[in-house]
């Protein structure tokens, strides 16, 4: 089938602002959007810039705004989109070139919630044991691949970028609800601030955008409740 691929392009050396470019691509219905981007880059216009690594929905490199929704280009099939496909960079982060954005603000928020096990107690003889139920409690958060689909679909994040964003909160949730972790208070500093969880307006864009089907908004609400219970 013939697909019309519209890509929002931006070259910082030439362009004042992003502009649309249209490409005609021959595609199979079961091709992924990533395949179409490859076809453009390899056969039509080598200057097209986008980020991708594994191509199998695990590395989280190729999150893009495809037909108005944040998705991974490597997990989105042409047959689910139709013959006209628009691709834009994810929103709310500075565009560096074409579909590549500067992820630094996203990772600054990630670092702020201290996404690693904090436990100063002397380690036991063998490992820190955990029951299957305790492991299940934070299972959803472990699925996150840090693709930024959720954070860059959040209208609050778009406004001024001071919101810590759903992805960082999901990462915090993963450790807050881990029975082995003792870093609750340290994480609450970032999560409870004016740029933390209280800015969430439960728009549910993050939940819809997540390519790993994490119930992001629900996890955010659980973190809110944890902060509340800790304080009162």
């Amino acid at each position: 089938m013939q697909v019309t691929l519209k890509i929002l392009r931006f070259d910082p050396q030439k362009d004042q602002r992003p502009h649309w470019e249209t490409y005609q691509v021959e595609a199979e219905p079961w091709d992924r959007v990533l395949d179409l981007l490859h076809k453009v880059k390899w056969d039509q216009d080598g200057t097209l810039a986008f980020r991708r690594s594994c191509g199998h929905g695990i590395c989280g490199s190729d999150a893009m705004l495809i037909n108005g929704k944040n998705r991974l280009a490597c997990k989105t099939l042409v047959k689910d989109l139709g013959s006209v496909i628009t691709v834009e960079p994810i929103r709310g982060l500075p565009v560096e070139k074409d579909l590549i954005v500067d992820m630094e603000p996203f990772f600054a928020a990630y670092r702020a919630v201290k996404p690693y096990l904090i436990n100063d107690e002397p380690p036991p003889q063998r490992e820190r044991l955990q029951s299957p139920e305790e492991r299940e409690r934070f299972d959803q958060g472990t699925k996150c691949i840090l693709c930024a689909s959720c954070t860059t679909s959040c209208p609050v994040f778009w406004v001024n970028g001071t919101y810590i964003g759903p992805a960082a909160i999901v990462q915090a949730h993963r450790f807050l609800f881990d029975s082995r972790d003792r870093g609750k208070r340290e994480r609450f500093k970032a999560l409870g601030s004016g740029s933390g969880v209280w800015r969430c307006r439960t728009a549910y864009n993050c939940t819809e955008a997540c390519p790993r089907e994490i119930p992001v908004t629900q996890l955010i609400e659980e973190v809110k409740r944890a902060i509340l219970m800790d304080r009162f």
């Binding site: 600054a108 201290k114 304080r231």
Partner: protein
């Protein structure tokens, strides 16, 4: 605890008070309280009494009693604070430019302070002339 933030943005993300939590809790509690205060207000002034009989004398008599002064003052304070904080949320969500956001908030807070002053003055300091 070791300091781990390397840049100002990160330090800002990690520094925090519980102020936003308290506002969040306040919004929930004041919202529920306001529902009952306002239902009570309407019940007493529109259902128990005939609206058409309400005149200056009726209001003056009511507001010369401390209980009703406090009741109305509570509606005034909670309504203004709840509304102002809700508007603050909206402004934070919608105004992108930091300077515009600052000035819009400045105007909002001044207006709220003025309305509270005006409302409490007429509630507490006005002589309704009822002996």
């Amino acid at each position: 605890m070791a300091i781990k933030s390397r840049r100002y943005e990160e330090a800002k993300l990690e520094a925090s008070t519980n102020l936003e939590l308290y506002w969040w809790v306040f919004m929930r509690i004041s919202g529920v309280v306001l529902v009952f205060l306002l239902i009570g207000h309407m019940w007493m002034n529109a259902i128990l009494t005939d609206l058409n009989t309400i005149n200056y004398d009726y209001v003056a008599k009511r507001l010369s009693q401390t209980t009703w002064k406090l009741y109305d003052l509570l509606i005034l304070a909670l309504g203004l604070l709840h509304g102002a904080n809700g508007l603050r949320y909206v402004l934070d969500d919608w105004i992108r430019d930091p300077m515009k956001r600052f000035w819009t908030k400045a105007v909002l807070y001044s207006l709220i302070a003025f309305l509270f002053l005006l409302g409490s003055l007429s509630l507490l300091n006005h002589d309704f002339g009822v002996k």
